[in-house]
Amino acid sequence: MKTIKEINERIKEGKAVVVTADEVVELARTAPVKKIAKEVDVVTTGTFGPMCSSGVFLNFGHSKKRIKMGGGRVYLNGVPAYTGLAAVDVYVGATAIPDDDPRNSEHPGEFKYGGGHLIEDLVGGKEVEVVGSAYGTDCYPNKGLRTRITISDLNEAILFNPRNCYQNYNVAVNLSDKTIYTYMGVLKPRLGNANYCSAGQLSPLLKDPYLKTIGFGTRIFLGGGVGYVAWWGTQYNPSVKRRENGIPVGGAATLALIGDMKQMRPEYLKGASLTGYGTSLIVGIGIPIPVLNEEIIKWVSVTDEEIYAPIVDYSYDYPNSTGNVLGSVSYGELKSGKINFMGKSIPTGSLSSYKKAKEIAGILKEWIKSGEFLLTEPIFYFPGQDSGYKFKPMREV
């Protein structure tokens, strides 16, 4: 019905009709699919939650007396960086924590500062201490340095997240008799609370469940700047069973994302401390979905009430990979603040901010409407439901 090229022409002319995913949900309650498909050009999505598989490549430039950090050690504000690259390239991941962090020695540990916080500080323009040590070579004789840098001193700061944007996720509960501290937050005993982590009807991959428009090279909102889909994400699992509306019954597709961190903003890349678990990075992502045909309107207008997430026990079933799912619940119910489950009324909490997700979808909408953000045709599409591509458990011998 429409092509991305045609939509881009309309964007350039300032004529494109852009709505956010929650707005299209409301539109679809009264207007017929055909009419919306004809009138709307782009639907913007958004999400803002902790995503541990995130991190940044940094290039420091060379010191006067050259140092080969590769194979040596580098710490940024005490957070260890991965140095198995060339002389002054490193990678810092969101979950990296200082060597002297007490971790869980006094359970639950606080994890006050880690890679996620370092990324937030860098993006926020704060000065960061760099300490490096090396073994020294004829061409890189320097064996140690200590300096301070800000993001503008770096040649490159490339955010590269191997796994973001999970398509659907578990609702975590605790069936045991004691409080547990997980990456899904603090879980009170005997179903004391239920935590979820998805923007539901605003979440990018729940609005394009078969990834018909999102693929390699898709231009997106990433951390407040412009980023791109760099590959399918790790643990990509398209073969998960789906409901009639295309929504997978549990975690399925994921995306690897890349972008220039120098353009990003600390409001959309925030360090997180998960008590008893570790540090992470809260990432703001927005993905535009071009309305190419009526089928896409059917996907994007799926409501919170029609999206179900699996309820999983994190005291035994998750840690032991039993695969057991206790039940399922809709995001509509989760967002009401309480779910009724196993004869109990359980208060709910979300690790993903719906308010920020809405804000991101709104910003992306404005970018597109103003003509500054054009849509991209993916260079290729990712393995689909029938591709046989599966997420395997670890081989243990």
Binding site: N193, A272, T275, P347, G349, K356, K358
Partner: protein, 134 residues
Amino acid sequence: MEKKFVMHFPPVLVDKPIISTIVRKYNLDFNILKAFVSPEEEGTLVIAFSGGEKDVNSAVSELKDEGVKIQMIESDIKMIRERCTDCSVCVGLCPVGALMMDKDTYEVKFTPEKCIACELCIRGCPTKAMVSTI
């Protein structure tokens, strides 16, 4: 003045109307923030007393004499708004509804008056937006 207390009632006291007797005697206003009886029949009450300082103190010491274990809630929990991302993970943890999600704005709202300083939100907040000031 207003003071908040956590009170533990041993099983022998659970069925006696101690609180109502005391508040009448000392002319106190009270607000029950949380109350439950454990399977072992020990009662727990989180209560705010307001009235004259002397009256509140006398009421508390009289309750202690009756065998009620009392701890005053002294710490003050605050929300640092700039750090909050409105994720709502604290909302499900808060036992007294002091942290709630505004259904229209999706903003997390903190009502200090309801807070019993259990500090679960401090442990639960990923961005350290909830802090205790003693």
